[in-house]
């Protein structure tokens, strides 16, 4: 994103709309004593400043993004469509259609580690740290995930090293593993948490058995706490043949 300094009046209305505080006001020598400018290292290309429509003179301009900067928009702008899945957003359909796809079967647990969430942002290099850790634990990366498209799934490393410094609002590593491996994976993530230069949220997906998550006894035994709210696929879809 750019701000046209010829148009900007320096009103500052757009500043609070940026989720990562990448916009600041600077002294100017033109028509107005100050103008807004974007820190392009911090900007995650979510487009929120322009989409908010708050600028009275439409000074926010979205230039065409080349490689690798376009990755920022991919993981930050919810309307950006990832070419492989043709889905907007940052992830896949995962458990949302599990009653039809049977992607997560009984005996399996789905894991989502979302780096940068909520609202802190992350470089892809930080995401890679978690990706390498999970690969070493033998998880199966979700093939449809935008992140999986970037990595060598054997090692979890990013194939194109030029993208590592790109900054995004959040990026999800999606994978699955046998349900019994959940405590080992959780312990490894907790150990790595101190070395990650951002925040991350953890999702655990499980099929239900007698209305309860199949993984629940394992989580209870390992003292893995989950919040009282989450997402439930209530199972009204019909399985594809």
């Amino acid at each position: 994103m750019e701000i046209d300094s010829e148009r900007c009046t320096g009103c500052g209305l757009c500043l609070p709309y940026c989720p990562v505080a990448a916009i600041s006001l600077y002294p100017a020598m033109g028509r107005f004593p100050r103008v807004a400018s974007i820190d392009h290292d911090a900007c995650v290309e979510c487009g929120e400043c322009r989409k908010s429509g708050v600028c009275p003179v439409s000074a926010h301009v979205q230039p065409e993004l080349g490689w690798p900067r376009i990755l920022r928009a991919m993981w930050s702008d919810p309307m950006a469509v990832f070419p492989k899945t043709m889905m907007p957003g940052r992830g896949t359909q995962e458990m949302k259609t599990n009653d039809i796809t049977n992607c997560f079967r009984k005996g399996e647990v789905g894991i989502g580690v979302e780096l940068g969430r909520p609202g802190v942002g992350t470089t892809l290099a930080e995401v890679e740290k978690v990706s390498i850790l999970l690969a070493a634990l033998g998880v199966a990366f979700e093939e449809e995930s935008p992140w999986t498209d970037l990595i060598d799934t054997e090692t979890g490393t990013i194939k194109d090293r030029s993208v590592r410094s790109e900054r995004v609002l959040s990026c999800i590593v999606e994978c699955k593993a046998p349900v019994v491996k959940m405590p080992e994976i959780y312990a490894a993530l907790m150990e790595a948490a101190g070395e990650i230069d951002t925040v991350f949220t953890l999702d655990i997906i499980s099929r239900c058995v007698n209305s309860e998550p199949e993984v629940k006894p394992i989580l209870d035994e390992a003292r893995i706490h989950v919040r009282p709210n989450g997402k439930t696929n209530i199972g009204l879809g019909r399985l594809l043949s």
Partner: protein
């Protein structure tokens, strides 16, 4: 993947925060989706969104409760519940509710309608489970939030996170929440106008504008 999975708040507050939406992995059937949308519309949603196929393009429609009362209502891209209920050729829809009884009614009617559409309910897991069981079936799969880790000192204060986490893509900036709280405190904006301004930023329309008003009032009061 985690869109509506990490909404923060106490269990008592989350009793007023439920989302129902669909994602399809099967061929589209507009007739079934129209019926699905009619059911969502009929049970007092505070926010509603849908996508409609019009020739070769998709158009989004949004409703937010109370939008007509805001100072910029005429400029806002919202529709009424009646307008959305009358739409045809729908392919996706979502709704936010603040009452568990409404969620139970939607779940029961969706089960009875037997549309074959994958439906996700976000909210208190025990509440969703009991809604399914009351309608005579068991839930299929859950996605649980196991918390936030790493450099927690980078996060905004919890009262702000309770508001920002209602937009799963984090399009509602914590700085905007703080700014809106100041505007309400200074009586330059009403709670409705300030909440609507934040709801407007949530592309998916999952932002619970009614709960936002309660949270923002507390924030503005300090």
């Amino acid at each position: 993947m985690t869109h509506s999975n990490h909404r923060l708040g106490s269990p008592e507050e989350l009793l007023r925060d439920w989302i129902i939406f669909n994602t399809d992995a099967r061929p589209l059937d507009p007739k079934r989706h129209e019926r699905y949308m009619q059911i969502l519309t009929a049970h007092n949603p505070v926010c509603l969104a849908c996508r409609r196929i019009e020739k070769d393009k998709t158009t989004r429609y949004r409703y937010v409760k109370g939008w007509e009362e805001t100072k910029d209502a005429a400029k806002l891209p919202y529709s009424t519940l009646v307008e959305i209920g009358d739409l045809r050729d729908i392919k996706w829809g979502s709704a936010v509710y603040t009452n568990k009884k409404d969620v139970e009614a939607v779940v029961r009617e969706l089960k009875e309608a037997d549309l074959g559409i994958s439906v996700v309910v976000s909210g208190l897991l025990g509440g969703v489970r009991s809604a399914c069981e009351a309608a005579g079936f068991e839930p299929h799969t859950v996605n649980m939030s196991a918390g936030t880790y790493g450099r927690l000192e980078l996060l905004p204060e919890a009262r702000i996170l309770e508001i920002t986490s209602m937009c799963g893509h984090h399009m509602v900036s914590p700085y905007l929440v703080a700014h809106m709280a100041r505007e309400v405190r200074a009586r330059r904006l009403t709670l409705t106008d300030a909440s609507m301004e934040m709801a407007r930023q949530c592309t998916c329309n999952f932002f619970n504008v009614e709960r936002c008003q309660e949270l923002l009032q507390r924030l503005a009061e300090g």
